[in-house]
Symmetry: C2
Subunit: 162 residues, 2 copies
DNA sequence: CTCTGTGCAAACACTTTGCAGCTAA
DNA sequence: TTAGCTGCAAAGTGTTTGCACAGAG
């Protein structure tokens, strides 16, 4: 069972690498060994690693790579939509003393955070198929996009991947 | 209209300040002018300020306060549950190359992020009462709490504020 | 050949820590 | 009086930037 799983994983990684190369070329980005190595490391894990963690992983098979390159590559991946930042904006912490139930919308451009309150979001059900037996202390619905002013300036108009 | 609004705002701020003082005493925390000033600044705004922004605001009426105190106080507020960090974990960025629809659970203690996929969360409706005309590009449901292992070690057992 | 990408080092921004003096209780 | 809080300064961590060289197209 383990062997079979592994093989299909490898197969899928391979496919994704090829697709990624195509995507790079289409975007006018060069297919460098460093870039491939970083992307591969990210695809092979489900651990949502930090730049440092990716660096350590890639380093094992590519000792000459630098942390800066890893950082820049991860940035590039985010820009082209091949990866996402799932934690830590890199910006400073932001605080809120409003304890009433409410949700946040964040403008990706000007970083403004808008409060809103949508009743149904207060009542979302925690699913029963969570990975392991976890204790959920807080559940949040979070929207990102462009605010009124920023949408005007940018080329983005309609919905992307909604 | 403006005057009336303002007055009720002030009234509410006053009440919250009193409640906060009580809460501090109950928690064995001293009621210092700095602490009050920081809390007041946070209650009076809806802008989800950074520590630096709070510092600038408080400084206007309390010139001798230091940024460190603001930082520490905001930390304290988070700890006692009088405020939340709504952006920027302070930790490093974390990346994910999994583009399929899925959600995240984050353990507050060990910072581990677990993927899960709950169909209904993919289909949540963006509310129509958003503050201004915003373009929503991404919507996320995000759960926080304690993972299996960390829950064992901590005193927290049941649901808090769920 | 050309231009992007890389590696190195320095600069930056934000946060945390150690310590001496201050102050609320 | 005394435990906790504040302000200052220094150190730590993660990220960004400038520049010269290397390598992909």
């Amino acid at each position: 069972m383990r062997g079979k799983e592994r093989r299909s994983d490898k197969q899928e990684t391979k496919e994704r690498m090829t697709a990624f190369q195509t995507r790079c070329r289409e975007a006018g980005l060069k297919v460098t060994p460093q870039r491939m190595a970083v992307y591969k490391a990210l695809v092979e894990t489900t651990e949502h690693p930090s730049a440092e963690a990716v660096f350590q992983k890639v380093r094992r098979t590519f000792p000459s790579i630098s942390l800066d390159t890893v950082n820049r590559t991860l940035l590039t991946l985010s820009d082209m939509g091949a990866a996402f930042v799932v934690e830590g904006s890199g910006d400073a912490k932001r605080f809120d003393a409003n304890l009433c139930a409410h949700q946040h919308f964040k403008c990706l451009k000007c970083k403004k955070i808008l409060d809103f309150h949508h009743e149904p979001f207060d009542q979302i059900e925690v699913p029963t198929n969570l990975p392991s037996r976890v204790t959920v202390l807080r559940k949040t619905v979070y929207l990102e996009g462009l605010c009124d002013q920023c949408a005007k300036g940018s080329g983005i108009k309609g919905d992307l991947s909604l």
